[in-house]
């Protein structure tokens, strides 16, 4: 994934499958998920800084379903790969490229979501 990657519109298939057409619910769920992802990204960064592989593994583990909910399945796959690498190697160095990619992509994806769901 190039560093200047710009996310396309999210795949909202999953969101639509759970919302049953409730637009208010969709907006609330996306807003809550964005906030949760922001918090977990803080854990990812501190896990890297502190060289705490367990903290990092837990954070990327938690991010997987959140990225699926907001429709960024590629980022979910990056988290799965990072989690697996951390479980196998026990070292944060094994997934630094994946984490770097997430850190680049998430702010752009978030902008798209905020715009799409008209969240201020």
């Amino acid at each position: 994934m190039p560093a200047n990657f710009t996310p396309s519109n999210p795949d909202l298939t999953y969101l639509l499958s759970v919302s049953n057409g409730d637009k208010r619910f969709e907006k609330m769920l996306i807003n809550t998920s964005i906030q949760s992802i922001d918090l977990k990204m803080v854990d990812v960064v501190s896990g890297l800084t502190e060289k705490d592989a367990d903290k990092l593994r837990k954070a990327v583990h938690s991010l997987k379903p959140l990225f699926a909910v907001v429709g960024y399945n590629e980022m979910q796959k990056i988290c799965s790969a990072a989690e697996l690498q951390l479980a196998v190697s026990g070292s944060q160095q094994s997934c630094e490229n994946d984490i770097s990619s997430l850190k680049t992509q998430w702010p752009e994806a978030k902008k798209v979501l905020l715009h799409l769901f008209e969240i201020n």
Partner: protein, 143 residues
């Protein structure tokens, strides 16, 4: 902290018979679960970690038809909470516990069963699959 996501206005005795306990620190997943359960006539009590799940179960051991237990949670994880609930409940009819996980590791799934969970689902789950699994697990108790 305990959150009460259930916004049902009617609290009939039949609603109480269909109450599910959800232990999950992931608020997005809790919102999804609440939405799906409400559409299917269940009420939900939501707690944020395993410790709170054990406390809620101890307080009202017969109040829940099923427990949805996330595996990775702060304070007490779903594995330890399940072991504790099974220990507390060993003389009575066991409440079904459905594990919720985003894990890709087979050993994590094995731990769920060893702790006493009846089944597991990957997060985020398909609403129909969730309901099918819940009905399958509580069918002997269905009223």
């Amino acid at each position: 902290m305990t959150t009460h996501l259930n916004s049902n206005n009617s609290q009939s005795s039949s609603d109480n018979c269909r109450q599910i306990l959800l232990a999950d620190d992931d608020l997005s997943n809790a919102m999804i679960t609440e939405h799906v359960l409400q559409m299917n006539g269940y009420s939900l009590k939501h707690v944020l970690n395993g410790k709170e799940a054990v406390a809620a179960f101890q307080q009202e051991p017969d109040a829940y038809v099923l427990i949805l237990m996330d595996v990775q949670m702060p304070e007490m994880d779903g594995i330890e909470a399940t072991r504790t609930i099974r220990f507390l409940n060993r003389s009575g009819a066991a409440v079904p516990i459905l594990g919720l996980t985003a894990s890709v590791l087979q050993e994590d799934i094995q731990l769920c069963y060893e702790a006493g969970m009846n089944a597991y689902m990957f997060k985020p789950y398909d609403p129909d699959k969730l309901m099918n699994k819940i009905r399958e697990l509580i069918s002997p108790k269905k009223k």
